[in-house]
Symmetry: C2
Subunit: 217 residues, 2 copies
């Protein structure tokens, strides 16, 4: 089985995705990731997939014959470039401090060959935050979520429980509300929370923080 990434330039009209996925299905490609970058009159569509029998050259040849396709070629995968993602969300002041710790620690691991990106959204309000927590489970390459705030509970706690069931790990700052109870790990210092988040997902880290289930720092 071989992994590939291709990028195609196609006319921006309904049905193009159907044409592209029809070719991929004919080659029994297992599609792992799709990205659409819409433009007018042309859009870029990017696919990551694995092949068992077919060659990527054969896939590209068939795609280039589709009406509306103006270009198709191989490209490096996002996984190779952006790697694992840690998402930090909550109030701006605390999200910023967690991000500082996480970015500094990710730098140390990325220099040794890891690829860890830190993504953040400063966001307030129970409903908006709960929706953002639930959405992380649908985002690609997300390994861990850090909740950085002073008070989180209610619907956010319910969302944390849901995403943990899908396998996502959650670190919470030590804060008011029921979110810390629902998290894998609770950390008081936001910079340390960021550092620990990176240690938890890095293959280059020397030990597994998440074994210390439900510990508080």
């Amino acid at each position: 089985m071989t992994s590939h990434a291709i990028s195609t330039t196609v006319a921006d009209r309904p049905g193009m995705m159907y044409g592209l996925t029809k070719v991929l299905a004919a080659h029994e490609a297992d599609i792992k990731y799709v990205d659409i970058h819409q433009g007018d009159p042309h859009s870029e569509v990017y696919f990551e997939f694995t092949l068992t029998d077919s060659s990527v050259e054969a896939v590209l040849r068939d795609i280039r014959e589709l009406p509306g396709v103006s270009r198709a070629g191989e490209t490096p995968t996002f996984g190779k470039i952006y790697g694992k993602r840690i998402i930090v969300m909550g109030g701006g002041a605390q999200v910023g401090m967690v991000a500082m710790g996480a970015i500094a620690e990710a730098d140390r691991h990325n220099i040794r060959g890891e690829r860890i990106s830190i993504d953040t959204i400063p966001l307030v309000g129970e409903h908006d935050l709960a929706a953002a927590v639930r959405a992380t489970a649908r985002l690609p390459r997300v390994k861990l979520l850090v909740l950085a705030g002073s008070l989180m509970g209610g619907e956010i706690t319910a969302a944390v429980k849901e995403v943990r069931e899908t396998g996502l790990r959650v670190i919470s700052l030590n804060m008011a509300g029921s979110v810390p109870e629902a998290a894998d790990l609770v950390v008081s210092d936001p910079v340390q929370a960021g550092v620990m988040a990176v240690m938890a997902v890095a293959d280059t880290a020397k030990f597994d923080l998440m074994r210390q289930l439900k510990r508080r720092y």
Copy 2:
């Protein structure tokens, strides 16, 4: 024309995307975004699309009839939740400071109804950075790139010129190398660079920073 987002649970096997996009094509859905969250034996596939004549109920009904589909329903769009993205890349110390400024400023705009996320990758090396810069043009919802380092040039500069041609705006820290020459805006203070990045993409900002083309601060 109406915008919709749906999430489906499907068997993890080749050909499922083809089946799903075939239904969407039959309803003349214009697909804007696709996300695959792979699991075993079931994967989640998420679509954002617009419809002109069909209803989302009709689309969901046809999708539920496909072999291998165990669930399909409407869901809020990522655009509503995560909104516009600013990507910060470069050396850890400087990426952290830019992120601090951008997160604090995004907080102020998000409270007033904007949705701006700050995504970062601490990364060094001409080749890796150039590849990451080129990849931003293929990532969804990215509005602006901030390059935070002390020395960037060569292949990175070539990549900056390429992504600017696709419409992406680029802010560079004032640094050694040829990247500042290729950027839209050059800023010396990393915190201010982050703040300005958010001001440049926020609809809630009072003026357009990018009009000050090629200015240095």
